[in-house]
Amino acid sequence: MRDALRHAAGPVGALALALIVSSFVMLAFHTNPIAAFGALLHGAFGSKQGSAETLVQTTALLFAGLGVAVAFRAGLFNIGAEGQLVAGGLSTAIAGAALHAPAIIEIPLCLLAGAIGGAIWGGIAGVLRARFGASEVITTIMLNYVAFLGSSYLVSGPLRGDLSAPETAPIAATAVMAPIIANTRLTAALPLAILLALYLWWWLGRTVAGYELRAVGKSERAARYAGVDPRVVIVRAMLMSGALAGLAGATEVLGLLHRFNAELSPGYGFTSIAVALLGATNPIGVIFSALFFGALQNGALAMQSLAGVPKDLISVVEGLVILFVAARKLPVGLMLARRPARIEGDS
């Protein structure tokens, strides 16, 4: 227990600092930060619908945040969660429209399609890094745009299912993940994401593969001397990372949109970087930070309408959190494991 508190101290400190700085921003523009955050809290947790919607946002952030966190543990910075999310969402939408099986088979297959779509998108960056030493930071940024533009082409051309809007055909009725609480949009995706987080926590800490992944994240060279092939581990980590982000897209499609279109993600993949870092790249920590950012995103709308504070302020909070978590010499800094800059001494 004391250990958990000690681990939480850094992130909570970074968070507090970010909220204080953004309060000063609001004060500078004559808005009352207490009223703003009050409205935000009310929007995020003030009603059954509000709370459920917070959890809906949490779900996508949790999947994608776990993806970024796993990559980080392997010393990789996956900026491509957004693109992997799109690849996953699109794959799920294609599978969901094409397959017509009973729900018990159809839904898992569609989820699998999303995970595979995301894994392929992440895996490309993994292979390029492992095989050619290409920085995954650059390749994932570039792959994001390839995913955005490629999917935009597909839904306005070959995969267009609706003449009135650029989107795919709707998924089969048996592919729809129904709400688990009446009159909300919350689906079984949330418990699934939490189970995955727990599994990942166990996997990272208690399995050989998880140990290898963390070893490569600490030092590729040391891992190699211990008989681990960093290239295999890097590809595996990027496949997992992409699959998790892909599941975020998949569950959005199956539970909320029931098709693929440009509204798939309001930037979950980018916010998930903040989620992973605030969660100290620990899957259990990521659950809490996903909830925090889910509440922030959902409450932002209430903050805008009730307190008149533009919802974009939460991006400021987000950026500040990342900044303070990354600082290594502030007491709030998490001393994140430093990522190896690039492959140390090829082959």
Partner: protein, 288 residues
């Protein structure tokens, strides 16, 4: 005139407009990365510069002052990157992403609060002839090249980016060079942003930078971290976006032309077209 000529003429008109902001930002990236600091925040700094220019022009109707304030804003944002990278030994990529998210949020927040309407500013006084900035950008390519390869400062800077420890032993102040290079880079990226706002469109709208900072980053890599290479890559990438505008509804879907810079960069960094090798200590924190 035949169609190919008309297309070429149309492209020649659009290309400088597309290339100029990229060149400014890419030169900024070249300077800072030659000093060893990866600036992934070019996108955010461009947005910050574009916004600062519009607000200043809105308040003062003075376009020159507006560009000056944009440059100062870019320097300030780059200084944040440099401080966290150098004084806090933070991961440069993480800090760069933080600045991107922060700046995009902050500008959107400020658009709403300053102009009283979300999304975009009203039209403000801007440059009457933005081609001036294109010539400035081209001149700067030469200037940066000369500084990097023909002056003591440039040689020191590249030493700092390649082998900071050796540079320090030779009496070069590594930290000071890295601060200066990053902040100078921020000034240039912000100029690129100002070109987009008070230069080309005379407004600021959310998302107007639209990935150009990342294209500039790609151009730095594609141009192998040299000013001429990066500027050439910018012109090359601008050619695709010009073609896309000129050939609207043509045989090639617009998305493919837009996608090419990103795809080519992936190919380049994987080493398929020569080796794209960054300065040896690019992105590596320096600790005495």
């Amino acid at each position: 005139m035949s169609t190919p000529w008309l297309i070429a003429l149309a492209v020649a008109k659009v290309l400088p407009k597309k290339a100029t902001p990229l060149i400014f930002a890419a030169l900024g990236g070249v300077i800072s990365e030659n000093g060893g600091i990866v600036n992934i925040a070019l996108e955010g700094i461009m947005a910050g510069g574009a916004f600062a220019a519009v607000v200043t022009s809105y308040r003062t109707h003075d376009v020159v002052l507006a560009i000056f304030v944009a440059v100062l804003t870019g320097m300030a944002l780059a200084a944040v990157l440099a401080y966290f990278a150098l004084a806090q030994s933070a991961d440069q990529i993480v800090v760069g992403m933080a600045i991107n998210i922060l700046t995009l949020g902050m500008t959107a927040y400020l658009v709403s609060t300053v102009f009283g309407q979300p999304g975009a500013s009203p039209e403000v006084p801007g440059l009457r002839n933005e081609a001036v900035l294109t010539w400035v950008a081209l001149a700067l390519v030469v200037v940066v090249h000369v500084i990097l390869y023909r002056t003591r400062i440039g040689i020191h800077l590249r030493a700092v980016g390649e082998e900071p420890r050796a540079a320090a032993t030779a009496g070069i102040n590594v930290v000071a060079y890295r601060y200066a290079a990053t902040i100078a880079g921020g000034a240039l990226a912000a100029l690129g942003g100002a070109y987009l706002s008070v230069g080309e469109t005379h407004i600021y709208s959310d998302g107007m930078v639209a990935g150009r900072g990342f294209i500039a980053l790609a151009a730095v890599i594609f141009g192998k971290w040299t000013p001429f290479g990066a500027a050439g890559a910018c012109a090359f990438f601008a050619l695709f976006s010009s073609l896309q505008i000129v050939l609207q509804g043509g045989a090639v879907p617009a998305q493919f032309l837009e996608m090419l810079p990103y795809l080519l960069t992936i190919v380049a960094i994987a080493g398929f077209i020569g080796r794209a090798r960054p300065p040896a200590s690019d992105g590596v924190p320096y600790e005495r």
